[in-house]
Amino acid sequence: MANYHFNFAIVWRYAGKLFEGLLLSLELAAASIAIGMAIGLVLALISLDGPKWARPLIAAYVEFVRNVPLLLLVYLVFYGIPSAIDLQYDAVTSFVATLSIYSGAYLVEVMRAGLEAVPRGLIEAGKAIGLTPMKVLWHVRLPTAMRIALPSLSNTYVSLFKDTSIASAIAVPELAYGMRWIETQTFRTVEVYLLATPIYLITSYAILLLLRLAERRYSIAR
């Protein structure tokens, strides 16, 4: 340890790679969360209000995805599916699809818990002022459920951002991949980690901070 000579100059030359990597990580997370939220919301509503036969199907999806490693799902979608059927897609598309399906399984649970926690009286109050069920959903249930679910959502979102690092396993040039790439180019291992780790840390906590602010702004103290 004592004899290690730091040389940040070499690593700094490649810093752009890390920055691009971070941007891609954020894009991957944002896209997957957006799609995952849509999946989660729709399936949560179906499992609450929909036909009974849909419930075991949704449970099967949630249980399968949540009990299998994300890395395996990433490989399965990127290598497994194109090997079996005639379908071609690039690594980024493949990863976004995988992380969306993965996040969807977690977000179904979060959104269902949120929707179930909406007090019955609020739904009745919505009906009593003449709102149709769709309008009750849109103006009363969803806004309330989102606010109730926000703390859980925040944690899930940060986890999903960190999970984008797994895209490096299929050579998606996100932050973890950029980090490893610079390391193999420069052999300045310690410097690379000293630079890349804070990027993850700061970004994770920045996301969390923003969401906590949103929680405070939108909380419905009762």
Partner: protein, 270 residues
């Protein structure tokens, strides 16, 4: 068997309930209820808990789906399509349109926690009465002023006391200009010192001739504000008469037993 007051809305009633039945599982909570309420009448429903009074109120705007009999608002059957043959439940869209005619104020206020006081009132005006945002805002401000909450127009429910929240709840209901206002034990969840401010608002609304049906435990208030008092027991209406008569002679044994539980309430016949 019910001592129906002859005066009861001889003209066309706003609310006409006939033979209403409702069961929860094996438990029949409404066993054939008849009630009609004329325009401008204030009817107070009293009775022991479990007597079906809240269920009766909730059937009027179909928050509770009744099994048999009929509920009509201004001649329109509430929950089911008129016509011959089997009864068919109305579509959600039809129900929504009918429900605004019987706006409800809830025991637990049920203000939308993510909306300000004004927005709580505006939501129904915009989404089911089709008012523009500006119109809805003006109506909301007018009603908040009426219930003495001009200062709380943009306050969130969590920033208001229970009494203030309930006054917003009343404003939200009455702003829809319903044909009848349903009040479901609206002071039961309030601290005693906040009851007065809410009842004052109700009294004013009664004075301007609004049709109201209220379920209440405030006997003195029922006596003061109601044109008729309805006493329910075990799923039936046992007494339906002007307050002076109900509280005056205490003709019915079960009513006497019920009233005796209200310590400090002295019926004073007019």
């Amino acid at each position: 068997m019910a001592e129906t007051d002859a005066r009861a809305s001889a003209a066309k009633p706003v609310i006409a309930i006939e033979g209403l039945t409702k069961s929860f599982g094996a438990n029949q909570v409404l066993k054939g209820v008849d009630l009609s309420v004329g325009k401008g009448e204030v009817v107070a429903i009293i009775g022991p808990s479990g007597s079906g009074k809240t269920t009766l109120l909730r059937c009027i705007n179909f928050l509770e789906e009744y099994d048999g009999g009929s509920v009509r608002i201004d001649g329109t059957e509430v929950g089911y399509r008129d016509g011959t043959g089997a009864r068919k439940r109305r579509s959600d869209r039809e129900l929504a349109a009918i429900r605004v005619d019987a706006a409800m104020v809830f025991q637990q206020f049920n203000l939308f926690p993510h909306l300000t006081a004004a927005q709580n009132i505006m939501l129904g005006l915009m989404k089911s009465r089709g008012r523009s945002k500006a119109e809805a805002r003006a109506i909301a401000e007018k009603w908040l002023a009426r219930v003495g909450l001009s200062a709380k127009v943009d306050a969130m429910p969590s920033q208001m006391s229970g009494g203030q929240q309930q006054r917003v709840g009343i404003a939200r209901a009455v702003a829809m200009e319903p044909k009848v206002l349903l009040l479901d034990e609206i002071t039961s969840a309030l601290d005693p010192e906040l009851v007065g401010e809410v009842l004052a608002v109700v009294q004013e609304l009664a004075a301007e001739g609004r049709t109201m049906i209220l379920v209440t435990h405030e006997m003195a208030f029922a006596q003061e504000v109601a044109d008729r008092v309805v006493f329910t027991d075990q799923g039936r209406i046992v007494i339906d008469a002007p307050p002076a008569k109900v509280f005056g002679e205490q003709p019915h044994e079960r009513l006497r037993a019920f009233l005796s539980r209200f310590v400090g309430f002295r019926p004073n016949p007019a």
